[in-house]
């Protein structure tokens, strides 16, 4: 297989396979959760479930000062890495073109040096996160192979993307192909790892907010 053939495969059949598994997997997982259903609350309401749910979806991204201080590292590193990751996924011009091709939607991009910097920042954040995961008492206790897998699946596209952009080590087509392949692996495993939280967190937050909101508490 020549490197351009490799690139063509990941841009063609590889992408097809990954996208189909990703979309199907996510939908199945979501239905698998939602269809379990939950009982209607029969107690007299003190507040709105819907509003509470929606409110928590938003407010759970912000923490009160004391909580922030207690979990500063987790919150700050999490913020940095998620921001960098999401911005470099959704605001890099070539990526937007991909979304446009698949979904027909497009939006303005950020300058490439900015994306470049964001990717580096995310990579550094992810490295500190794994260092902490391996050293912190609570994290070590919680760790499962799945945590390391999810970390690997996330950092690989960042690193390969960075390498492809700067053409480090290998011919450009190969680097680009490896980058796309790493994203495809991520997509394929996404629905079956904790990466799924990217979707289910909205449900979880909504439920949390709805349960509290019903009782008149903003959670």
């Amino acid at each position: 297989m020549s490197e351009i053939e490799f690139l063509d495969w990941v841009r063609g059949p590889g992408f097809q396979i990954a996208a189909v598994i990703f979309v199907a997997g996510v939908i199945i997982r979501i239905l698998e959760i939602l269809m379990l259903g939950r009982k209607k609350n029969l107690a007299e309401a003190r507040g709105s479930e819907m509003l509470g749910g929606l409110r928590t979806i938003v407010t759970r991204s912000m923490h009160d000062k004391a909580t922030f201080q207690r979990s500063a590292f987790t919150i700050v590193s999490g913020y940095i890495f998620h921001t960098g990751l999401l911005l470099s996924i959704f605001f890099f011009a070539p990526h937007i073109l991909m979304f446009k091709e698949v979904f027909g939607l497009s939006w303005p991009s950020l300058p490439t040096p900015v994306i470049d910097a964001l990717a580096v920042i995310s990579i550094i954040a992810l490295l500190t996160i794994i260092a902490r995961r391996m050293s912190n008492k609570v994290m070590r206790f919680l760790n499962t192979p799945g945590d390391y897998l999810a970390w690997l699946l996330t950092i690989t596209p960042l690193v390969t993307g960075y390498m492809a952009f700067h053409r480090i080590g290998l011919p450009a087509p190969t680097l680009l192909a490896i980058h796309i392949l790493s994203v495809e692996i991520l997509l394929v495993l996404f629905p079956f790892t904790k990466l799924m939280h990217a979707f289910t967190l909205f449900m979880a937050r909504w439920y949390n907010g709805a349960i509290s909101g019903y009782r008149g508490v903003a959670s």
Partner: protein, 418 residues
């Protein structure tokens, strides 16, 4: 004696719903819930972190309700729930959690971990892994009518004392009264002043109220141990009494989990909406205040703080009412750091106080509260839960701290205008 692992697993299967599935699917193992839980912060033992406490429920969800888990189960790859696991988890699920729900407030993905621990107990209890103390309390609640074994004559005796000291009659079994007051055994046995206070305030405000001799106990050990069927039985007694007396509103006394049991879980346990309203005593008092029926003639001058009982504030929604009432009666009210819905648990809720095995850890995790108190050094602590009150008194003594505990209702009664 028929508790069994199968029953436990069966119960856990029943407990999984879309919320549980969404929560487990979302957990990213960030560890933030550990920092929110006094059982971790004060012991530093990672196994006591919140999300770990629900491991039995997680295993059932994973192997029964996920595609991958179901496939894994076929090949024997999923982790099983067995007696060894449940034995190990007993001290985590019961002794190391007060169902305070603080973890549920910080989890970045929004997991209501406390809810899941409550659900996990449903499985633990029927698998025979509930603590002795809670089994005893539940048994007494079902057979005698009170977890502390308080019987009607004891209540009647207390009522007589109150009537003697106030010269006013306490309305008992009055049909058509607007309010029906529930009490907790702790109030009957340890704080009968509460009955006196309520009677004084209601009398002054001209409220029509009553106490039922058929259902006066507000607490619900069925919820703490995690057996909905038994909890429902206890709730049904109250429903029957309230319907019989045709009251408009049932008042939950100064007891946190009683409020949770009757106000929020009650209708869901018995399976139909109540024909009456349920209010916490502080809600009722605040309503009276708003209506101008709660006049006071003197004010507290000492430095007061308010300890939010978890089930009343964070899990119950009664957060502003005590503060409005305190504003009315206290000159020097100070909030603790981390207050209201973010308050720290006293360490004794969720059945921990009925579980002697947990005594040591209960006193240990009180350090969290101590730190909060040390930060503001109040002259007295006001609260609205007899359980918190008993525990705080006990723990303060243990830590050689001399801060009196006050009941908000009693305090208001003391300052009532003649």
């Amino acid at each position: 004696m028929s508790a069994s692992l199968e029953k436990g697993i069966h119960a856990l299967k029943e407990q999984v719903d879309s919320t549980v599935a969404a929560f487990f699917s979302s957990c990213v193992h960030c560890g933030m819930c550990a920092d929110a839980c006094l059982f971790y912060t004060e012991t530093g033992e990672p196994e006591r972190m919140p999300i770990n406490k629900v491991e039995p429920l997680r295993r059932i969800w994973k192997s029964e309700y996920t595609l991958l888990g179901r496939i894994g189960k076929l090949f024997g790859l999923t982790k099983k729930v067995d007696d060894k696991l449940l034995t190990e988890w007993e001290t985590l699920v019961y002794d190391s959690c007060t169902l305070c729900g603080r973890c549920s407030m910080v989890c970045p993905v929004g997991n209501d971990i406390a809810l899941m621990i409550r659900k996990t107990r449903e499985g633990m209890a029927v698998a025979g892994h509930a603590p002795e103390g809670l089994i005893g309390a539940t048994t007494r609640a079902i057979t005698i009518g009170s977890p502390m074994g308080v019987k009607l004559p004891a209540l009647q005796a207390q009522i007589r004392h109150v009537e003697e000291s106030t010269g006013k009659t306490i309305p008992v079994d009055v049909e058509g009264a607007e309010y029906m007051l529930l009490l907790s055994s702790m109030e009957i046995m340890n704080f009968p002043e509460f009955i006196e206070a309520v009677s004084k305030i209601f009398d002054r405000a001209g409220v029509s109220w009553t106490i039922s001799t058929e259902a006066f106990e507000a607490t619900n050990s069925g919820i703490q141990i995690g057996v909905s069927d038994l909890a429902a039985e206890l709730v049904q007694r109250i429903v029957d009494a309230a319907e019989k007396l045709k009251v408009k509103t049932v008042i939950s006394p100064e007891c946190g989990h009683a409020y949770m049991a009757i106000r929020w879980e009650g209708p869901n346990l018995v399976g139909k909406p109540f024909s009456f309203k349920v209010r916490h005593i502080l809600e009722v008092l605040n309503e009276l205040r708003e209506q101008g029926k709660l006049e006071i003639s003197s004010r507290e001058t000492q430095k007061l703080t308010y300890h939010d009982p978890c089930q009343i504030s964070r899990r119950g929604g009664v957060i502003n009412e005590p503060r409005s009432l305190l504003d009315m009666v206290a000159d020097n009210f100070v909030e603790m750091p981390d207050t209201g819905k973010m308050n720290w648990c006293c360490g004794a809720g969720g059945g921990v106080s009925s579980n002697e095995r947990a005594d040591e850890i209960r006193l240990k995790v009180f350090q969290r509260k101590k730190e909060q108190l040390d930060a503001i050094k109040p002259d007295a602590i006001v609260s609205a839960c007899s359980n918190c009150r008993l525990n705080l008194e006990d723990a303060l003594e243990e830590y050689n701290m001399d801060i009196p505990l006050l009941s908000l209702t009693e305090m208001l009664a003391d300052h009532l205008a003649d």
